[in-house]
């Protein structure tokens, strides 16, 4: 079976945070971008921290002002 290998293009800023070997690693062919979805939609580059920040749900309930028992 033939596998088309491509080097993953990394931003220079992101490379700073990866181990050295990442600069040379070879990846399988990347999937086509889904027009309706992109992983980059869920992260952003933060200048101050100089790294990608991934959006995520809060790890815990922030407040209990809404009573979810009344909704279901």
């Amino acid at each position: 079976m033939y596998i088309d290998l491509k080097e993953l293009a990394l931003r220079e800023a992101a490379k700073m945070h990866y181990p050295l070997f990442y600069n040379f690693i070879i990846y399988n062919e990347l999937l086509e971008k889904d027009e309706n979805y992109s992983l980059t939609d869920f992260k952003k580059f933060n200048e101050r921290l100089d790294c990608d920040i991934e959006y995520q749900q809060p790890s815990k309930l922030i407040s209990k002002i809404i009573n979810f028992n009344e909704i279901d």
Binding site: Y37, K44, Y55, S59, K60, K64, E70, I71
Partner: protein
């Protein structure tokens, strides 16, 4: 069924992601890896505590009645079938996991209340970002325009804040799809809850990768002020995603730990519903408030020090409330809006 002969010389190892909480009437096993909760009788809780000391054979030899042996084997079967543990030869190779907790952020979450006052959101969010704050909940007690919400969300762009939740009053002039568009435009916006709505409904957003998730929620619940907060029931409890999250609940106050609140007057508090202000955000830097020992004190009120809660089997997954307590003024009394009675094991 487990073979007794095969395991008498083994220990039973409860996996490190499984935690037992003994309550007055019953106990729970919380599996944080799979986010499952199991109720067990307190007698089984006592047995589990022997697992790190006694081999299965020694435990069985301590039983006087044959039926206890049968029940014990059924229990082991239950634990193994639910992937809560396994048999091991040397229990010392599996030391108990530490529940010490810490976080690189000085503040992990924040509440900002707003009512007919224009907080300097740019300054507040910048201060929170400097403290490493990840999650921010904005609660508006007056009707708000979409453009105003959008202007606040724009301010999060240069920050490392990873989730913003907005709790807003229903405004009939705003099309519900406008909220949907807001959620799509700003991925940092984790959730919008519109209270005082004519009906309860979710606006579902389909996402093939992250599965279907609900980000816009309309509720008929009336919210007039922060006094609506503090409701504790089964829906306000949640099994943490990680051992770290569980450890935070055990070691610290699950609601107030690493939290900063700015109430509707701009006062900096542990919680908007608590009476004590540690300064106004207009003239007091949030970082300075964090140096106040009295402010930090609330972070460390664990359930073990709260009356009634210390006997509750849910205490390590409960989000607690120190603002509305059953004995007003006694910060170590049971949450006033908790309907669970651990002595009867039921919700009122």
């Amino acid at each position: 069924m487990i073979s007794l002969e095969q395991h008498t010389d083994h220990y039973f190892y409860l996996y490190a992601n499984c935690f037992v909480t003994r309550g007055f009437s019953r106990s729970t096993i919380i599996d944080v890896a799979h986010k499952n909760l199991y109720f067990i009788d307190n007698a089984y809780c006592d047995l589990i505590s022997r697992f790190r000391v006694d081999k299965i054979g020694a435990v069985i030899n301590s039983f006087e009645a044959q039926k206890d042996v049968t029940y014990f084997l059924e229990f082991l079967n239950f634990l193994q079938a639910n992937n809560l543990g396994t048999f091991v030869q040397d229990i010392t190779l599996f030391p108990a996991i530490s529940l010490d907790w810490d976080h690189p952020s000085k503040v992990t979450n924040a509440i900002i209340d707003s009512r007919n006052i224009n907080h300097d959101f740019e300054d507040i969010l910048k201060q929170l970002d400097d403290l490493g704050c990840l999650d921010v909940q904005l609660r508006f007690y007056e009707k708000t325009e979409i453009s105003y919400l959008e202007s606040i969300l724009e301010l999060t762009a240069p920050t490392a804040i990873t989730a913003v939740q907005m709790i807003i009053r229903y405004n009939a002039l705003i099309d519900s799809m406008d909220y949907h568009r807001l959620v799509k435009k700003y991925p940092v916006l984790d959730l919008i809850i519109v209270y005082g709505s004519p009906e309860n409904k979710f606006l579902e957003q389909h996402d093939d990768v992250r599965e279907v998730f609900k980000k816009v929620l309309f509720t008929t619940q009336a919210v007039d002020s922060c006094a609506s907060c503090g409701t504790i029931n089964l829906r306000s409890m949640s099994i943490p995603d990680s051992v770290q999250g569980y450890a935070e609940n055990v070691r610290h106050n699950s609601c107030l730990n690493r939290k900063v609140s700015v109430d509707e007057n701009g006062d900096i508090k542990n919680c908007p519903s608590l009476p004590r202000s540690f300064g106004n955000v207009k003239d007091t830097p949030i970082a300075r408030v964090l140096e106040d020992k009295d402010f930090i004190k609330a972070w460390n009120i664990s359930k073990e020090s709260i009356t009634v809660c210390k006997d509750c089997e849910f205490r390590n997954i409960c989000s607690d409330c120190r603002a509305y307590t059953s004995i007003p003024g006694d910060i170590l009394s049971k949450p006033a809006k908790c309907t669970y009675d651990p002595y009867l094991a039921n919700f009122a």
